[in-house]
């Protein structure tokens, strides 16, 4: 497909729209970073400048790290995200393989149920999940943060779409070569669907790193809180007026995601455009 040449007016208009929409998304971030570098007095000044008049960053970031156990919260987040992601891949890949490549009675119905699961927001399930965790006696533990997310309909759907594009002959060859069905999943399908796995990982990690709603319900112990919940605790503690350290903490929480996304951007795009992978 050749690029379509736009007239200068149309090009300006198009870029204008793009700049405006990206500004909508980027301004809060820039503002956050900017506030995290300013002194309390400057934050509430009527005029706005991106760069601080008086560099207060060191104090804000030091306070963010020391006044609440932010490293602990981030460590919790990391642990929970890693556990969720590992469990999700462990569950989704075999399930998606079965839906994509095996023939069994009721397969289409089960896949329809997966699609229904895809439509349900997690908040709808929070009450049943809470009761489940209560009955299992795992409330206020790491497990309570992980268990409700172990089965991801989105992961099953994404993997299934990818696995379906892998030719049946490869599965047949693997069976003849002596691989068990599970070995086919882990040795053949998952490596061949690596872009999808990486794209899914990014989605999963972003969603659960930023999740506030469920941890708020599931854990009360400060030692178990993931980062967003920790930031909230921070805000309460500081009575809501010490925005500099709050924004510094927020910046620190968001930073790992930005870095991870930039590092994996190539695979992310590839995974989302699915069919282009041979």
């Amino acid at each position: 497909m050749s690029a379509i040449r736009l007239s200068p007016a149309a090009a300006i208009l198009r870029h204008g729209v793009l700049v405006l929409t990206s500004a909508f998304i980027l301004v809060p971030f820039v503002w956050m970073v900017s506030l995290s570098l300013k002194s309390p007095g400057e934050i509430f000044r009527a005029t706005f400048s991106v760069l601080p008049a008086q560099f207060y960053g060191v104090d804000n970031y030091a306070k963010a790290i020391t006044s609440v156990p932010l490293p602990r919260y981030m460590g919790n987040g990391l642990l929970v995200c890693a556990l969720i992601l590992a469990a999700q891949i462990l569950v989704c890949a075999p399930a998606a393989y079965a839906l994509a490549k095996l023939k069994f009675w009721g397969r289409d119905f089960i896949f329809a149920m997966v699609l229904v699961g895809l439509l349900l927001p997690h908040q709808v399930l929070s009450l049943p999940s809470f009761i489940l965790c209560y009955k299992l006696g795992i409330l206020n533990t790491y497990l309570a943060l992980v268990i409700p997310y172990v089965v991801s309909p989105f992961g099953i759907f994404l993997f299934r779409q990818f696995f379906r594009k892998i030719p049946d002959d490869i599965v047949h060859a693997a069976r003849l070569d002596g691989l068990t069905e599970l070995a086919i999943v882990w040795k053949i399908m998952v490596p061949m669907a690596l872009p999808a796995v990486i794209a899914f990982s990014i989605f999963s990690v972003v969603a659960h790193w930023n999740d506030l709603f469920w941890p708020l319900i599931a854990v009360r112990d400060g030692h178990l809180m993931p980062a967003p919940l920790g930031i909230m605790a921070f805000k309460n503690e500081e009575a809501g007026n010490d925005y500099g350290p709050l924004m510094a903490a927020s910046t620190l929480v968001v930073a790992p995601l930005l870095i991870a996304f930039l590092a994996a951007q190539k695979w992310f795009v590839e995974g989302m455009t699915g069919g282009s992978v041979k």
Partner: protein
């Protein structure tokens, strides 16, 4: 040792019946080709042999052992796929080694990184590496072992697929149109290599193709299939010269066999394309049937006469040693094709009148159902001498 017996296999996909009661026995070390147009069930039969599909009824025996319900990896068969089905994320060496690793190493020994250092795995792994490099050398792909399949040409991928199949010394080789993704020149070369491979390994080969040239050149016996049925099983020469069924005669041979409607005038003489030709089989006078004449069965004749077909030439194709002459005998809707030797036939041009003769034994007679009527079959169809069935 590793012959195959296929008994009464039936298979349907939903409402579509793919195989109707197919039975076949394959000798140990034989090169057997399943030949037929696409959709005739030949690939399905091969997949049933491999255990990748399950038959609805019937039974398969490989090497004297009934293998129904036995998983593909326990059947001692290897398969080469049309798409090669190489694992794109593994190197050529890893592709070829995988069947051996799965068979010789325990689950723990196959673990990445750690497996190599577990007790007992060292010698096995180096044994596998040696066999992989020996196989690669035999196929001329030793220099490609570290590449990925995506970096190889079609012919090289094909060799890797063959290597992966042969490395574990299976009793039976199954090949599903392995050459159809290659260009014409490479196909001829690989055809010779497969023939040579069969000679060296001496194991049973079952080869699926829709290409008659592959079937004719490679096989000990050819199985012609159509619509889920076996039409004929015979050595290549026989299947060409002595087909059982009109569909077999039409599928084999290029240019295609001429099929002409004919009427029996009197015993031993048939009305065909405006001429009376002597024919070897005895059919009741007045009955209608079809006669098949291979293009090369026509002989150039100087003059019209008894047993000579006459027509005007529509088109001539020069093929070097041969001429393909399309001519219209009177009373026929479609032209006949004659393959005449360029030396023996003088300069033939479109529009001229052509005389050709045919030897009586080269007329293939088919009845209304498309079944072949042979000279020796006559006594059997005669109601006065019933054939006794020994049950």
């Amino acid at each position: 040792m590793s012959g195959i017996a296929i008994r009464n296999i039936r298979k349907s996909f939903g409402a579509t019946r793919v195989l109707h009661d197919v039975s076949l026995s394959i000798a140990d070390g034989e090169f057997l080709t399943l030949l037929g147009p696409s959709g005739c069930g030949k690939s399905t039969l091969l997949r049933i042999l491999a255990g990748l599909e399950v038959q609805d009824t019937g039974s398969i025996e490989i090497g004297g052992r009934v293998v129904d319900g036995i998983r593909p990896k326990r059947r001692d068969v290897a398969m080469v796929f049309q798409s090669y089905a190489l694992y794109p994320h593994m190197s050529v060496a890893a592709n070829i080694a995988l069947p051996l690793r799965m068979r010789r190493l325990s689950r723990a020994q196959r673990l990445p990184l750690i497996g190599r250092w577990l007790p007992g795995s060292g010698p096995v792994i180096s044994g596998i590496e040696m066999e992989v490099s020996r196989t690669a050398e035999a196929l001329g792909i030793a220099h490609l072992l570290n590449r990925r399949p995506g970096q190889l040409s079609g012919g090289q991928r094909q060799r890797v697929a063959v290597g992966r199949a042969m490395v574990r010394h299976p009793a039976v080789f199954l090949m599903d149109e392995p050459l159809s993704n290659l260009d014409a020149k490479l196909r001829v070369q690989m055809r010779a290599e497969i023939k040579d491979l069969h000679r060296r390994l001496g194991v049973t080969f079952v080869y699926v193709t829709h290409d008659q040239a592959e079937a004719m050149t490679l096989s000990d016996r050819v199985v012609v299939m159509r619509d889920g049925e076996i039409l004929q099983v015979a050595p290549p020469q026989e299947i060409y010269a002595d087909p059982n069924d009109m569909r077999v005669a039409e599928f084999l041979g290029s240019p295609k066999i001429n099929m002409v409607d004919a009427t029996m005038r009197e015993p031993g003489l048939v009305d065909l394309a405006g001429s009376a030709l002597p024919v070897a089989c005895e059919i009741a006078p007045g009955s209608k049937f079809t006669v098949g004449i291979r293009p090369e069965a026509f002989q150039f004749a100087e003059h019209p006469g008894p047993g000579v077909i006459t027509g005007s030439v529509r088109m001539v194709e020069h093929m070097g040693s041969d001429l393909f002459v399309y001519f219209d005998p009177c009373g026929l809707e479609h032209p006949l094709i004659a393959r005449l030797s360029a030396e023996r036939a003088p300069h033939i041009v479109a529009g001229q009148t052509l005389h050709v003769s045919v030897r009586p034994d080269q007329l293939l007679v088919f009845n209304r159902d498309g079944r072949r009527v042979r000279a020796r079959d006559v006594s059997r169809t005669n109601p006065s001498t019933p054939v006794r069935e020994w049950a």
